[in-house]
């Protein structure tokens, strides 16, 4: 779907969908949406809609995948068959495989992985609708799900796509912009408090000068994403406290599942650093 029109952002001073150059699409996050998961999040970002769920820390399977020094974060990024304009065939493709890998690596820095040796944390992200930027949406959702699971973290991961389209450096490209003849797409994810970069990819042609500008746009935009993440986590925890013992969760989970009880004990012993930060 190539954009053959003579769009010129420099001249128009605004983008196809009316946004300013540094303006993101609307972002909504809700945590705790999947009762079975230890932590979860649902995120809408423009047309993108994704679910994230976290299971663990739990026994690493297969056994040889365990690391005696730390927990292994296993991310599976998947898209439903109907989340893209042309039906996606079942089973992960090479793109899914690569994205799963970089998302897992991006989350690793945020988690105190040394605290749970020989275990795994399963992080599952599922795209149910998409329009450019699904990997950063998933990374943003996944880090909320990890925090929701009470997993000790040094920080959240906040991510966004920045880049170039129709002559301008822009934030949060949509599909029409990704199809621009001069499109550059740069998914970037950071630990917002330290500004450390944990996800960084680039497709397209960009000068180093442009990189200097666009990387600042990216970091600033990530920080705005961070505010939405914090807000979502806060809402959940405030709610949780209000509900306290009146927890409406799945009976089978609360009353009788041994695994969950064990897990909860583990959690209680750990400092929930992110939760603390968020509540400040």
């Amino acid at each position: 779907m190539k954009q053959e029109t003579m769009i010129d952002y420099k001249k128009d001073k605004k983008r196809i969908d009316g946004r300013k150059m540094d303006e993101s699409r609307p972002l909504k996050i809700e945590v705790g949406v999947i009762p079975n998961a230890n932590g979860s999040a649902y995120l809408e970002w423009g047309q993108n809609k994704v679910y994230a769920a976290v299971y663990g820390p739990r026994e690493a399977l297969p056994k040889h995948s365990a690391d005696p020094l730390k927990t292994v974060i296993k991310v599976e990024y998947r898209m439903t068959s109907f989340s893209v304009p042309q039906r996606k065939r079942p089973g992960p493709n090479r793109r899914d495989q690569e994205i799963s890998k970089v998302l897992g690596e991006a989350l690793t820095k945020a988690v105190f992985v040394e605290q749970f040796p020989n275990t795994e944390i399963g992080v599952y992200v599922e795209v149910i609708d998409s329009n450019a930027g699904s990997r950063v949406a998933c990374l943003t959702a996944a880090s909320c799900a990890l925090a929701d699971a009470g997993i000790p973290m040094r920080d959240l991961v906040s991510a966004i796509g920045v880049g170039k389209a129709f002559g301008e450096l822009v934030v949060d490209l949509d599909k029409a912009e990704e199809d621009a003849p001069d499109a550059v797409d740069i998914p970037i994810g950071i630990l917002p408090n330290s500004e450390e970069i944990v996800l960084l990819q680039l497709d397209g042609l960009l000068t180093d000068k442009e990189w200097e500008i666009v990387s600042k746009l990216g970091i600033n935009a990530c920080k705005k994403v961070y505010e939405v993440q914090k807000e979502a986590l806060k809402r959940k925890f405030d709610l949780s406290e209000a509900m306290e013992k009146k927890d409406s969760k799945n009976v089978s989970k609360e009353n009788i599942s041994k695994e969950n009880i064990d897990k909860k004990n583990v959690e209680k012993k750990e400092v929930k650093s992110v939760k603390k930060k968020v509540k400040k």
Binding site: M1, I34, P35, N36, A37, S40, Q47, K49, Y51, A52, A53, Y55, R58, L61, E76, R78, T80, S81, F82, S83, V84, P85, Q86, R87, P90, G91, P92, G122, Y124, V125, E126, I128, D129, S130, N131, N250, V251, S252, I256, S257, K258, E259, N260
Partner: protein, 263 residues
């Protein structure tokens, strides 16, 4: 393979059932509360999220141009798939569809296909060359049992709301434009039961499924037809139990059909 269900929990469910009770205090013939949302995937020709108690399922439909089967030159077709996403339950795993996923997909498919709800001849574009193929896939978002009925509701609502893609003069799809709706002449729905402690329970939870001696699903239509049946799990039913379940399935699906299709 992970298994988070404990034998003691199963025994609890069995002994409750023997007394005619359930863990969530439902009646044995009571379905859990159903919520429906539609249209969340703009890239799909139809999409639906069904919440059935704690079970949550998303279905979506892509309609594409395909080639007809050699022995049905003037007919389009549908294809239904199911995935128990590892996102939805600690016991679920990724990988090729396992026996459970294949069975639930095929039973949901049969209930619709065999009801003749969709006229495959109406999906023909050019005889012998181009036909419409509808790919409906449903995914567990939170797994708490009865993927059969949750999937069946999600599939029916999705087909019922589905937009047909628009074709250009050369019979190629114009992206993001639509041309009317898919027609459904019947509204089949599955109703699923399990036998626990000798009792018949409608709409089982995940734990009740694990405690089940036997499982039974019936597809029924609003005009009095059975369109599918499927017995599962290692136990048995007698003829009277089957008749009881068929009868209950008609009543139950009539009720749900009204709710979900706003008839």
């Amino acid at each position: 393979m992970r298994s988070t269900i404990l034998e003691s929990d199963i025994q609890k469910v069995v002994s409750l059932a023997r007394d005619g009770k359930r863990l969530d205090n439902r009646q044995l013939d009571e379905m859990r509360e159903i919520k429906i949302e539609t249209g969340m995937s703009e890239n799909a020709e139809g999409s639906t999220i069904v919440t059935l108690g704690n079970t949550k399922v998303i279905a979506g439909l892509k309609i594409e141009i395909g080639t007809p089967y050699p022995d049905n030159q003037d007919e389009g077709s549908i294809s239904i798939g199911a995935e128990n996403l590892p996102l939805a339950h600690p016991d679920y795993e990724s990988g090729r569809p396992d026996d459970d996923e294949v069975e639930v997909a095929r039973v949901v498919d049969r209930a619709i296909r065999e009801s003749k709800a969709i006229d495959f001849k109406s999906l023909c574009i050019i005889k012998g060359e181009k036909v419409w193929v509808g790919y409906l896939d449903f995914y567990a978002l939170n797994g708490d049992g009865n993927m059969f009925d949750a999937g069946s509701i999600a599939a029916l609502v999705t087909f019922n709301n589905a937009k047909m893609p628009k074709l250009d003069a050369e019979n190629r799809i114009i992206m993001h434009e639509y041309d009317g709706k898919l027609k459904l002449s019947r509204k089949p729905l599955l109703t699923t039961f399990v036998k626990v402690g000798g009792k018949i329970l409608l709409d089982p939870t995940y734990l009740e499924e694990k405690a089940a001696e036997a499982r039974f699903s019936v597809g029924t239509t609003e005009d009095g037809f059975i369109s599918a049946m499927q017995k599962g799990v290692g136990g048995s039913f007698n003829k009277e139990e089957v008749s009881y379940m068929i009868d209950l399935a008609f009543k139950n699906s009539d009720k749900i059909r009204k709710q979900i299709l706003k008839i």
